[in-house]
Symmetry: C2
Subunit: 298 residues, 2 copies
Protein backbone atom coordinates (compact mmCIF):
# COMPACT_ATOMS: atom_id res chain seq x y z
CA UNK A 1 0.00 0.00 0.00
CA UNK A 2 1.36 3.38 -0.98
CA UNK A 3 1.52 6.04 1.73
CA UNK A 4 0.89 9.58 0.45
CA UNK A 5 2.59 12.63 1.94
CA UNK A 6 1.40 16.13 0.98
CA UNK A 7 3.57 19.20 1.51
CA UNK A 8 1.18 21.97 2.54
CA UNK A 9 3.98 24.46 3.18
CA UNK A 10 7.73 24.44 2.63
CA UNK A 11 9.17 27.81 3.75
CA UNK A 12 11.52 28.75 6.52
CA UNK A 13 10.68 31.55 9.03
CA UNK A 14 9.49 34.11 6.46
CA UNK A 15 7.10 32.89 3.75
CA UNK A 16 7.52 33.80 0.10
CA UNK A 17 4.96 34.27 -2.68
CA UNK A 18 5.55 30.61 -3.65
CA UNK A 19 6.11 28.98 -0.26
CA UNK A 20 3.81 29.01 2.75
CA UNK A 21 5.04 28.15 6.25
CA UNK A 22 5.85 24.54 6.96
CA UNK A 23 3.20 21.81 7.28
CA UNK A 24 3.15 18.20 6.04
CA UNK A 25 0.35 15.66 5.87
CA UNK A 26 0.70 11.90 6.04
CA UNK A 27 -2.29 9.71 5.16
CA UNK A 28 -2.35 6.10 6.29
CA UNK A 29 -5.52 3.98 6.33
CA UNK A 30 -7.96 5.91 8.53
CA UNK A 31 -5.25 8.18 9.96
CA UNK A 32 -4.38 11.67 8.74
CA UNK A 33 -1.42 13.14 10.56
CA UNK A 34 -0.16 16.69 10.30
CA UNK A 35 3.50 17.36 11.05
CA UNK A 36 3.87 21.02 12.06
CA UNK A 37 1.30 23.67 11.32
CA UNK A 38 2.75 26.98 10.15
CA UNK A 39 0.63 30.09 9.76
CA UNK A 40 -1.88 29.77 6.91
CA UNK A 41 -2.00 25.95 7.04
CA UNK A 42 -5.80 25.93 7.14
CA UNK A 43 -5.93 27.84 3.86
CA UNK A 44 -3.38 25.44 2.34
CA UNK A 45 -5.76 22.58 3.25
CA UNK A 46 -8.44 24.48 1.37
CA UNK A 47 -6.26 25.09 -1.66
CA UNK A 48 -5.20 21.42 -1.67
CA UNK A 49 -8.90 20.46 -1.44
CA UNK A 50 -8.28 18.36 1.69
CA UNK A 51 -10.87 18.49 4.45
CA UNK A 52 -9.05 19.35 7.72
CA UNK A 53 -11.72 17.43 9.62
CA UNK A 54 -9.99 14.25 8.42
CA UNK A 55 -7.12 15.01 10.81
CA UNK A 56 -6.53 12.47 13.55
CA UNK A 57 -3.10 13.43 14.91
CA UNK A 58 -0.89 16.47 15.05
CA UNK A 59 2.88 16.10 15.51
CA UNK A 60 4.64 19.31 16.45
CA UNK A 61 8.41 19.47 16.11
CA UNK A 62 8.86 22.66 18.18
CA UNK A 63 7.31 25.98 19.13
CA UNK A 64 9.15 28.47 16.98
CA UNK A 65 6.42 30.59 15.41
CA UNK A 66 6.93 29.44 11.84
CA UNK A 67 6.08 25.84 12.82
CA UNK A 68 2.97 26.43 14.93
CA UNK A 69 1.23 29.73 14.22
CA UNK A 70 -1.35 27.98 12.04
CA UNK A 71 -2.61 26.00 15.05
CA UNK A 72 -5.08 28.50 16.56
CA UNK A 73 -6.74 29.09 13.18
CA UNK A 74 -6.85 25.38 12.41
CA UNK A 75 -8.38 24.71 15.83
CA UNK A 76 -11.01 27.37 15.19
CA UNK A 77 -11.86 26.05 11.74
CA UNK A 78 -12.15 22.48 13.08
CA UNK A 79 -14.50 23.75 15.79
CA UNK A 80 -16.58 25.75 13.26
CA UNK A 81 -16.79 22.63 11.08
CA UNK A 82 -18.05 20.51 14.01
CA UNK A 83 -14.96 18.28 14.15
CA UNK A 84 -16.26 15.36 16.20
CA UNK A 85 -13.11 13.40 17.09
CA UNK A 86 -10.61 14.11 19.84
CA UNK A 87 -7.56 15.57 18.13
CA UNK A 88 -4.39 13.92 19.42
CA UNK A 89 -1.57 16.47 19.73
CA UNK A 90 2.06 15.47 20.35
CA UNK A 91 5.07 17.66 20.84
CA UNK A 92 8.29 18.15 22.80
CA UNK A 93 8.68 19.47 26.33
CA UNK A 94 6.61 22.66 26.75
CA UNK A 95 3.78 21.58 24.46
CA UNK A 96 1.13 21.48 27.22
CA UNK A 97 1.87 25.08 28.17
CA UNK A 98 1.88 26.38 24.61
CA UNK A 99 -1.34 24.65 23.58
CA UNK A 100 -3.00 25.99 26.70
CA UNK A 101 -1.86 29.53 25.78
CA UNK A 102 -3.14 29.07 22.25
CA UNK A 103 -6.58 28.15 23.46
CA UNK A 104 -6.71 31.43 25.40
CA UNK A 105 -5.31 33.51 22.57
CA UNK A 106 -8.56 34.58 20.98
CA UNK A 107 -12.27 34.35 21.59
CA UNK A 108 -13.08 30.95 20.17
CA UNK A 109 -16.31 29.89 18.55
CA UNK A 110 -17.45 26.30 18.84
CA UNK A 111 -15.87 23.58 20.90
CA UNK A 112 -12.94 21.34 20.10
CA UNK A 113 -11.68 18.29 21.96
CA UNK A 114 -7.90 18.07 22.10
CA UNK A 115 -5.62 15.66 23.95
CA UNK A 116 -2.05 16.88 24.35
CA UNK A 117 1.05 14.78 25.17
CA UNK A 118 4.71 15.72 25.52
CA UNK A 119 6.57 12.84 23.90
CA UNK A 120 9.99 11.26 23.53
CA UNK A 121 10.85 7.75 22.31
CA UNK A 122 8.12 5.41 21.02
CA UNK A 123 4.87 7.09 22.01
CA UNK A 124 2.12 5.41 20.05
CA UNK A 125 1.66 1.87 18.80
CA UNK A 126 -1.29 0.49 16.87
CA UNK A 127 -1.78 -2.83 15.09
CA UNK A 128 -0.34 -1.35 11.91
CA UNK A 129 2.27 1.24 12.84
CA UNK A 130 4.10 3.06 15.58
CA UNK A 131 5.31 6.63 16.09
CA UNK A 132 8.66 7.56 17.60
CA UNK A 133 10.07 10.92 18.72
CA UNK A 134 13.79 11.79 18.82
CA UNK A 135 14.90 14.91 20.72
CA UNK A 136 17.05 17.17 18.54
CA UNK A 137 19.37 20.15 19.11
CA UNK A 138 17.74 23.48 18.34
CA UNK A 139 17.03 26.83 20.02
CA UNK A 140 13.90 25.33 21.57
CA UNK A 141 12.93 21.78 22.66
CA UNK A 142 12.47 19.99 19.33
CA UNK A 143 11.55 16.48 18.18
CA UNK A 144 12.25 14.53 15.02
CA UNK A 145 9.50 12.00 14.26
CA UNK A 146 9.39 8.62 12.57
CA UNK A 147 6.26 6.97 11.29
CA UNK A 148 7.01 3.24 11.16
CA UNK A 149 4.66 0.84 9.45
CA UNK A 150 4.94 -2.66 10.88
CA UNK A 151 6.08 -5.54 8.73
CA UNK A 152 3.12 -7.59 7.50
CA UNK A 153 3.00 -11.31 6.65
CA UNK A 154 1.05 -11.75 3.41
CA UNK A 155 -0.42 -15.05 2.23
CA UNK A 156 0.51 -16.26 -1.23
CA UNK A 157 -2.96 -16.79 -2.70
CA UNK A 158 -1.76 -18.94 -5.58
CA UNK A 159 -0.04 -21.38 -3.24
CA UNK A 160 -3.09 -21.51 -0.97
CA UNK A 161 -5.26 -22.44 -3.95
CA UNK A 162 -2.85 -25.23 -4.89
CA UNK A 163 -3.13 -26.61 -1.36
CA UNK A 164 -6.94 -26.16 -1.35
CA UNK A 165 -6.91 -24.50 2.04
CA UNK A 166 -10.38 -23.12 2.71
CA UNK A 167 -10.79 -22.62 6.43
CA UNK A 168 -10.24 -19.16 7.82
CA UNK A 169 -8.94 -20.09 11.33
CA UNK A 170 -6.11 -21.97 9.61
CA UNK A 171 -5.38 -19.04 7.29
CA UNK A 172 -5.24 -16.76 10.29
CA UNK A 173 -2.59 -18.98 11.91
CA UNK A 174 -0.50 -18.92 8.73
CA UNK A 175 -0.83 -15.13 8.61
CA UNK A 176 0.52 -15.02 12.15
CA UNK A 177 3.53 -17.01 10.90
CA UNK A 178 2.51 -20.23 12.61
CA UNK A 179 2.91 -23.60 10.89
CA UNK A 180 -0.30 -25.68 10.53
CA UNK A 181 -1.51 -29.20 9.77
CA UNK A 182 -3.97 -29.83 6.95
CA UNK A 183 -5.14 -33.19 5.57
CA UNK A 184 -2.45 -34.81 7.73
CA UNK A 185 0.25 -32.71 6.08
CA UNK A 186 2.43 -30.16 7.84
CA UNK A 187 2.41 -26.77 6.13
CA UNK A 188 5.09 -24.29 7.04
CA UNK A 189 3.94 -20.70 7.23
CA UNK A 190 7.00 -19.54 5.31
CA UNK A 191 6.15 -21.84 2.41
CA UNK A 192 2.79 -20.17 1.71
CA UNK A 193 3.40 -16.62 2.91
CA UNK A 194 5.99 -13.85 2.79
CA UNK A 195 6.81 -10.82 4.88
CA UNK A 196 6.11 -7.40 3.37
CA UNK A 197 8.47 -4.87 4.90
CA UNK A 198 6.72 -1.86 6.48
CA UNK A 199 7.58 1.65 5.35
CA UNK A 200 9.47 4.15 7.46
CA UNK A 201 8.98 7.88 6.96
CA UNK A 202 11.12 10.26 9.01
CA UNK A 203 10.78 13.99 9.62
CA UNK A 204 13.81 15.94 10.78
CA UNK A 205 13.36 19.62 10.98
CA UNK A 206 15.10 22.37 12.79
CA UNK A 207 18.21 20.97 14.35
CA UNK A 208 21.95 21.12 14.39
CA UNK A 209 23.56 17.91 13.20
CA UNK A 210 23.37 15.42 16.09
CA UNK A 211 23.30 11.71 16.80
CA UNK A 212 19.51 11.53 16.91
CA UNK A 213 19.29 12.75 13.30
CA UNK A 214 20.85 9.45 12.25
CA UNK A 215 18.65 7.43 14.58
CA UNK A 216 15.47 9.10 13.32
CA UNK A 217 16.48 8.62 9.68
CA UNK A 218 17.71 5.02 9.96
CA UNK A 219 16.77 3.06 6.85
CA UNK A 220 13.91 5.43 6.12
CA UNK A 221 12.04 4.81 2.89
CA UNK A 222 11.52 8.56 2.86
CA UNK A 223 13.50 11.10 4.86
CA UNK A 224 12.06 14.61 4.94
CA UNK A 225 14.69 16.98 6.30
CA UNK A 226 15.21 20.70 6.66
CA UNK A 227 17.91 22.33 4.53
CA UNK A 228 17.74 25.90 5.75
CA UNK A 229 21.27 26.75 4.65
CA UNK A 230 23.99 25.69 2.21
CA UNK A 231 27.62 25.03 3.10
CA UNK A 232 28.41 28.62 2.02
CA UNK A 233 26.44 29.79 5.06
CA UNK A 234 27.59 27.05 7.40
CA UNK A 235 28.43 29.53 10.17
CA UNK A 236 24.87 30.82 10.16
CA UNK A 237 23.58 27.25 10.18
CA UNK A 238 25.69 26.53 13.26
CA UNK A 239 24.69 29.77 14.97
CA UNK A 240 20.97 29.12 14.45
CA UNK A 241 21.25 25.33 14.86
CA UNK A 242 20.06 24.35 11.44
CA UNK A 243 21.18 21.81 8.86
CA UNK A 244 22.90 22.62 5.61
CA UNK A 245 21.78 20.79 2.46
CA UNK A 246 25.01 18.79 2.58
CA UNK A 247 24.41 17.72 6.18
CA UNK A 248 20.86 16.61 5.37
CA UNK A 249 22.28 14.53 2.52
CA UNK A 250 24.92 13.04 4.79
CA UNK A 251 22.23 11.97 7.24
CA UNK A 252 20.33 10.29 4.39
CA UNK A 253 23.47 8.56 3.15
CA UNK A 254 24.81 7.30 6.46
CA UNK A 255 21.36 6.20 7.63
CA UNK A 256 20.81 4.29 4.39
CA UNK A 257 17.62 6.19 3.59
CA UNK A 258 16.09 5.42 0.20
CA UNK A 259 14.94 8.91 -0.70
CA UNK A 260 15.50 12.42 0.66
CA UNK A 261 13.15 15.38 0.30
CA UNK A 262 14.44 18.77 1.46
CA UNK A 263 12.12 21.41 2.86
CA UNK A 264 12.05 24.49 5.20
CA UNK A 265 13.59 26.49 2.37
CA UNK A 266 14.85 29.96 3.23
CA UNK A 267 13.77 33.06 1.30
CA UNK A 268 17.48 33.74 0.72
CA UNK A 269 17.42 31.00 -1.94
CA UNK A 270 14.13 32.13 -3.51
CA UNK A 271 14.37 31.46 -7.24
CA UNK A 272 17.76 29.76 -6.92
CA UNK A 273 16.85 26.64 -4.98
CA UNK A 274 18.96 24.62 -7.39
CA UNK A 275 22.10 25.40 -5.37
CA UNK A 276 20.51 23.57 -2.40
CA UNK A 277 19.62 20.61 -4.57
CA UNK A 278 23.03 20.43 -6.26
CA UNK A 279 24.84 20.52 -2.93
CA UNK A 280 22.76 17.66 -1.52
CA UNK A 281 22.84 15.51 -4.67
CA UNK A 282 26.63 15.47 -4.66
CA UNK A 283 26.36 13.41 -1.47
CA UNK A 284 22.98 11.70 -1.94
CA UNK A 285 21.71 11.62 -5.53
CA UNK A 286 18.13 10.58 -4.70
CA UNK A 287 17.27 14.02 -3.34
CA UNK A 288 14.40 16.36 -4.26
CA UNK A 289 13.23 19.76 -3.00
CA UNK A 290 9.62 20.00 -1.88
CA UNK A 291 7.32 22.62 -3.38
CA UNK A 292 4.00 23.64 -1.83
CA UNK A 293 1.27 21.09 -2.67
CA UNK A 294 3.73 18.41 -3.84
CA UNK A 295 2.40 14.92 -3.18
CA UNK A 296 4.76 11.97 -2.78
CA UNK A 297 3.68 8.36 -2.52
CA UNK A 298 5.98 5.90 -0.81
CA UNK B 1 -3.76 63.90 -2.38
CA UNK B 2 -5.14 60.43 -3.06
CA UNK B 3 -5.20 57.99 -0.16
CA UNK B 4 -4.58 54.35 -1.18
CA UNK B 5 -6.24 51.44 0.58
CA UNK B 6 -5.07 47.88 -0.13
CA UNK B 7 -7.21 44.85 0.67
CA UNK B 8 -4.78 42.18 1.85
CA UNK B 9 -7.55 39.74 2.76
CA UNK B 10 -11.33 39.72 2.34
CA UNK B 11 -12.72 36.46 3.75
CA UNK B 12 -14.99 35.72 6.66
CA UNK B 13 -14.05 33.13 9.34
CA UNK B 14 -12.94 30.38 6.94
CA UNK B 15 -10.64 31.39 4.07
CA UNK B 16 -11.17 30.19 0.51
CA UNK B 17 -8.69 29.52 -2.30
CA UNK B 18 -9.32 33.10 -3.52
CA UNK B 19 -9.79 34.97 -0.25
CA UNK B 20 -7.40 35.17 2.69
CA UNK B 21 -8.51 36.28 6.14
CA UNK B 22 -9.31 39.94 6.61
CA UNK B 23 -6.65 42.70 6.64
CA UNK B 24 -6.65 46.18 5.12
CA UNK B 25 -3.87 48.71 4.67
CA UNK B 26 -4.23 52.47 4.56
CA UNK B 27 -1.26 54.60 3.42
CA UNK B 28 -1.19 58.28 4.27
CA UNK B 29 1.98 60.40 4.04
CA UNK B 30 4.49 58.64 6.31
CA UNK B 31 1.84 56.49 7.98
CA UNK B 32 0.93 52.92 7.07
CA UNK B 33 -1.97 51.57 9.09
CA UNK B 34 -3.22 48.02 9.14
CA UNK B 35 -6.85 47.42 10.06
CA UNK B 36 -7.18 43.84 11.35
CA UNK B 37 -4.62 41.15 10.73
CA UNK B 38 -6.10 37.76 9.87
CA UNK B 39 -3.98 34.62 9.64
CA UNK B 40 -1.57 34.72 6.71
CA UNK B 41 -1.46 38.54 6.55
CA UNK B 42 2.36 38.58 6.54
CA UNK B 43 2.37 36.41 3.41
CA UNK B 44 -0.23 38.69 1.79
CA UNK B 45 2.18 41.62 2.40
CA UNK B 46 4.81 39.59 0.60
CA UNK B 47 2.53 38.74 -2.33
CA UNK B 48 1.46 42.40 -2.58
CA UNK B 49 5.16 43.37 -2.53
CA UNK B 50 4.64 45.70 0.44
CA UNK B 51 7.30 45.79 3.13
CA UNK B 52 5.59 45.19 6.50
CA UNK B 53 8.33 47.25 8.17
CA UNK B 54 6.55 50.33 6.78
CA UNK B 55 3.75 49.73 9.30
CA UNK B 56 3.24 52.49 11.87
CA UNK B 57 -0.14 51.61 13.39
CA UNK B 58 -2.33 48.61 13.84
CA UNK B 59 -6.09 49.01 14.38
CA UNK B 60 -7.81 45.88 15.62
CA UNK B 61 -11.61 45.69 15.41
CA UNK B 62 -11.97 42.68 17.74
CA UNK B 63 -10.37 39.45 18.88
CA UNK B 64 -12.27 36.80 16.99
CA UNK B 65 -9.60 34.57 15.49
CA UNK B 66 -10.22 35.43 11.86
CA UNK B 67 -9.35 39.09 12.54
CA UNK B 68 -6.18 38.67 14.59
CA UNK B 69 -4.43 35.32 14.09
CA UNK B 70 -1.94 36.90 11.71
CA UNK B 71 -0.59 39.10 14.52
CA UNK B 72 1.94 36.74 16.13
CA UNK B 73 3.48 35.88 12.75
CA UNK B 74 3.56 39.51 11.71
CA UNK B 75 5.21 40.45 15.02
CA UNK B 76 7.82 37.74 14.51
CA UNK B 77 8.55 38.80 10.94
CA UNK B 78 8.89 42.46 11.99
CA UNK B 79 11.32 41.40 14.71
CA UNK B 80 13.32 39.23 12.29
CA UNK B 81 13.47 42.16 9.87
CA UNK B 82 14.80 44.51 12.59
CA UNK B 83 11.71 46.75 12.66
CA UNK B 84 13.06 49.83 14.43
CA UNK B 85 9.94 51.84 15.26
CA UNK B 86 7.52 51.33 18.13
CA UNK B 87 4.43 49.73 16.64
CA UNK B 88 1.28 51.48 17.89
CA UNK B 89 -1.51 48.96 18.48
CA UNK B 90 -5.13 50.00 19.13
CA UNK B 91 -8.12 47.85 19.88
CA UNK B 92 -11.27 47.50 21.96
CA UNK B 93 -11.54 46.46 25.61
CA UNK B 94 -9.44 43.33 26.21
CA UNK B 95 -6.69 44.23 23.75
CA UNK B 96 -3.96 44.54 26.41
CA UNK B 97 -4.65 41.03 27.67
CA UNK B 98 -4.76 39.46 24.21
CA UNK B 99 -1.60 41.11 22.95
CA UNK B 100 0.17 40.01 26.11
CA UNK B 101 -0.97 36.42 25.52
CA UNK B 102 0.19 36.60 21.92
CA UNK B 103 3.66 37.62 22.94
CA UNK B 104 3.87 34.50 25.12
CA UNK B 105 2.39 32.20 22.51
CA UNK B 106 5.59 31.00 20.93
CA UNK B 107 9.32 31.26 21.41
CA UNK B 108 10.08 34.56 19.72
CA UNK B 109 13.23 35.51 17.92
CA UNK B 110 14.37 39.09 17.87
CA UNK B 111 12.84 41.97 19.76
CA UNK B 112 9.88 44.14 18.87
CA UNK B 113 8.68 47.33 20.53
CA UNK B 114 4.89 47.55 20.78
CA UNK B 115 2.66 50.09 22.50
CA UNK B 116 -0.89 48.91 23.10
CA UNK B 117 -3.97 51.05 23.84
CA UNK B 118 -7.60 50.13 24.38
CA UNK B 119 -9.53 52.90 22.62
CA UNK B 120 -12.98 54.42 22.23
CA UNK B 121 -13.89 57.83 20.77
CA UNK B 122 -11.19 60.06 19.23
CA UNK B 123 -7.91 58.48 20.24
CA UNK B 124 -5.22 60.00 18.06
CA UNK B 125 -4.81 63.44 16.54
CA UNK B 126 -1.93 64.67 14.40
CA UNK B 127 -1.52 67.86 12.37
CA UNK B 128 -3.06 66.13 9.37
CA UNK B 129 -5.63 63.62 10.58
CA UNK B 130 -7.35 62.00 13.49
CA UNK B 131 -8.54 58.49 14.31
CA UNK B 132 -11.82 57.66 15.99
CA UNK B 133 -13.19 54.41 17.41
CA UNK B 134 -16.90 53.54 17.69
CA UNK B 135 -17.94 50.58 19.85
CA UNK B 136 -20.17 48.17 17.92
CA UNK B 137 -22.45 45.24 18.80
CA UNK B 138 -20.84 41.86 18.24
CA UNK B 139 -20.07 38.64 20.14
CA UNK B 140 -16.89 40.27 21.49
CA UNK B 141 -15.90 43.87 22.25
CA UNK B 142 -15.55 45.41 18.81
CA UNK B 143 -14.68 48.82 17.34
CA UNK B 144 -15.48 50.53 14.07
CA UNK B 145 -12.77 52.99 13.03
CA UNK B 146 -12.72 56.23 11.09
CA UNK B 147 -9.62 57.80 9.58
CA UNK B 148 -10.40 61.50 9.20
CA UNK B 149 -8.12 63.77 7.24
CA UNK B 150 -8.36 67.36 8.42
CA UNK B 151 -9.61 70.09 6.10
CA UNK B 152 -6.73 72.08 4.60
CA UNK B 153 -6.67 75.72 3.47
CA UNK B 154 -4.88 75.92 0.12
CA UNK B 155 -3.50 79.14 -1.41
CA UNK B 156 -4.63 80.06 -4.91
CA UNK B 157 -1.24 80.50 -6.59
CA UNK B 158 -2.62 82.39 -9.56
CA UNK B 159 -4.24 85.00 -7.35
CA UNK B 160 -1.10 85.32 -5.23
CA UNK B 161 0.91 86.05 -8.40
CA UNK B 162 -1.57 88.75 -9.43
CA UNK B 163 -1.16 90.41 -6.03
CA UNK B 164 2.64 90.01 -6.17
CA UNK B 165 2.82 88.63 -2.66
CA UNK B 166 6.34 87.39 -2.04
CA UNK B 167 6.86 87.20 1.70
CA UNK B 168 6.49 83.83 3.33
CA UNK B 169 5.32 84.97 6.83
CA UNK B 170 2.38 86.69 5.11
CA UNK B 171 1.61 83.58 3.08
CA UNK B 172 1.65 81.55 6.24
CA UNK B 173 -0.96 83.85 7.81
CA UNK B 174 -3.19 83.50 4.74
CA UNK B 175 -2.80 79.74 4.91
CA UNK B 176 -3.98 79.88 8.49
CA UNK B 177 -7.09 81.71 7.26
CA UNK B 178 -6.05 85.10 8.66
CA UNK B 179 -6.56 88.33 6.68
CA UNK B 180 -3.41 90.41 6.02
CA UNK B 181 -2.29 93.86 4.90
CA UNK B 182 0.05 94.30 1.94
CA UNK B 183 1.07 97.58 0.27
CA UNK B 184 -1.54 99.32 2.40
CA UNK B 185 -4.29 97.07 1.05
CA UNK B 186 -6.33 94.61 3.13
CA UNK B 187 -6.34 91.10 1.67
CA UNK B 188 -8.93 88.68 2.90
CA UNK B 189 -7.72 85.10 3.32
CA UNK B 190 -10.86 83.75 1.65
CA UNK B 191 -10.18 85.82 -1.46
CA UNK B 192 -6.81 84.16 -2.19
CA UNK B 193 -7.33 80.70 -0.68
CA UNK B 194 -9.86 77.91 -0.45
CA UNK B 195 -10.54 75.05 1.90
CA UNK B 196 -9.85 71.54 0.63
CA UNK B 197 -12.11 69.11 2.41
CA UNK B 198 -10.29 66.25 4.14
CA UNK B 199 -11.17 62.65 3.30
CA UNK B 200 -12.98 60.32 5.66
CA UNK B 201 -12.49 56.56 5.43
CA UNK B 202 -14.55 54.33 7.71
CA UNK B 203 -14.16 50.66 8.59
CA UNK B 204 -17.17 48.80 9.99
CA UNK B 205 -16.68 45.15 10.50
CA UNK B 206 -18.37 42.55 12.54
CA UNK B 207 -21.44 44.06 14.07
CA UNK B 208 -25.18 43.90 14.25
CA UNK B 209 -26.82 47.02 12.87
CA UNK B 210 -26.55 49.71 15.55
CA UNK B 211 -26.47 53.48 15.98
CA UNK B 212 -22.67 53.66 15.96
CA UNK B 213 -22.58 52.17 12.44
CA UNK B 214 -24.16 55.37 11.18
CA UNK B 215 -21.90 57.57 13.30
CA UNK B 216 -18.76 55.82 12.07
CA UNK B 217 -19.88 56.00 8.43
CA UNK B 218 -21.13 59.62 8.50
CA UNK B 219 -20.30 61.33 5.20
CA UNK B 220 -17.44 58.92 4.57
CA UNK B 221 -15.68 59.28 1.23
CA UNK B 222 -15.15 55.56 1.48
CA UNK B 223 -17.05 53.18 3.72
CA UNK B 224 -15.61 49.69 4.03
CA UNK B 225 -18.18 47.42 5.64
CA UNK B 226 -18.68 43.75 6.31
CA UNK B 227 -21.44 41.96 4.39
CA UNK B 228 -21.23 38.50 5.88
CA UNK B 229 -24.80 37.57 4.95
CA UNK B 230 -27.58 38.44 2.52
CA UNK B 231 -31.19 39.15 3.49
CA UNK B 232 -32.01 35.51 2.69
CA UNK B 233 -29.94 34.56 5.76
CA UNK B 234 -31.03 37.48 7.89
CA UNK B 235 -31.77 35.22 10.88
CA UNK B 236 -28.20 33.93 10.86
CA UNK B 237 -26.94 37.50 10.56
CA UNK B 238 -28.93 38.45 13.64
CA UNK B 239 -27.88 35.34 15.57
CA UNK B 240 -24.17 35.95 14.89
CA UNK B 241 -24.45 39.75 15.03
CA UNK B 242 -23.36 40.47 11.50
CA UNK B 243 -24.58 42.80 8.76
CA UNK B 244 -26.40 41.76 5.63
CA UNK B 245 -25.38 43.35 2.33
CA UNK B 246 -28.62 45.33 2.40
CA UNK B 247 -27.90 46.68 5.90
CA UNK B 248 -24.39 47.73 4.88
CA UNK B 249 -25.89 49.59 1.93
CA UNK B 250 -28.47 51.24 4.16
CA UNK B 251 -25.69 52.48 6.45
CA UNK B 252 -23.90 53.95 3.42
CA UNK B 253 -27.09 55.58 2.13
CA UNK B 254 -28.31 57.09 5.40
CA UNK B 255 -24.82 58.27 6.37
CA UNK B 256 -24.39 59.93 2.98
CA UNK B 257 -21.23 57.97 2.22
CA UNK B 258 -19.82 58.48 -1.28
CA UNK B 259 -18.68 54.93 -1.94
CA UNK B 260 -19.19 51.54 -0.30
CA UNK B 261 -16.84 48.57 -0.50
CA UNK B 262 -18.08 45.28 0.94
CA UNK B 263 -15.70 42.75 2.48
CA UNK B 264 -15.56 39.87 5.03
CA UNK B 265 -17.20 37.66 2.41
CA UNK B 266 -18.43 34.26 3.57
CA UNK B 267 -17.39 31.03 1.85
CA UNK B 268 -21.11 30.30 1.43
CA UNK B 269 -21.14 32.84 -1.42
CA UNK B 270 -17.89 31.60 -3.00
CA UNK B 271 -18.26 31.99 -6.76
CA UNK B 272 -21.65 33.70 -6.47
CA UNK B 273 -20.68 36.95 -4.80
CA UNK B 274 -22.89 38.77 -7.29
CA UNK B 275 -25.94 38.16 -5.09
CA UNK B 276 -24.26 40.20 -2.34
CA UNK B 277 -23.45 42.99 -4.76
CA UNK B 278 -26.90 43.04 -6.34
CA UNK B 279 -28.61 43.21 -2.96
CA UNK B 280 -26.48 46.16 -1.84
CA UNK B 281 -26.67 48.06 -5.14
CA UNK B 282 -30.46 48.10 -5.02
CA UNK B 283 -30.10 50.39 -1.99
CA UNK B 284 -26.76 52.05 -2.70
CA UNK B 285 -25.58 51.88 -6.34
CA UNK B 286 -22.01 52.98 -5.68
CA UNK B 287 -21.08 49.65 -4.11
CA UNK B 288 -18.24 47.25 -4.94
CA UNK B 289 -17.02 43.95 -3.45
CA UNK B 290 -13.36 43.81 -2.43
CA UNK B 291 -11.09 41.08 -3.80
CA UNK B 292 -7.73 40.18 -2.28
CA UNK B 293 -5.04 42.67 -3.40
CA UNK B 294 -7.54 45.23 -4.70
CA UNK B 295 -6.20 48.77 -4.33
CA UNK B 296 -8.56 51.73 -4.09
CA UNK B 297 -7.47 55.36 -4.14
CA UNK B 298 -9.74 57.93 -2.54
Amino acid sequence: MKIPIVFLGTSQAIPTAKRNHIAMLLHYKNETMLVDCGEGAQRQFRKAKINPCKLTRLLITHFHGDHVLGLPGLFQTLALNSYNKTLQVYGPRGTLRFIDLMKRLFIPRGNLKIEVKEVSGKFLETQDFYLEAFPLKHGAPCNAYAFVEKDKRKLDKKKLQELKLPSSPLLKKLQEGKDIEHDGKKIKANSVSYVEKGKRISFILDTALCENCFKAAEKADLLIAEATYTEEDKELAEEHRHLTARQAAEIAKKSQAKKLVLTHISQRYDGREKIILDEARKVFPKTEIAEDFDKIEI
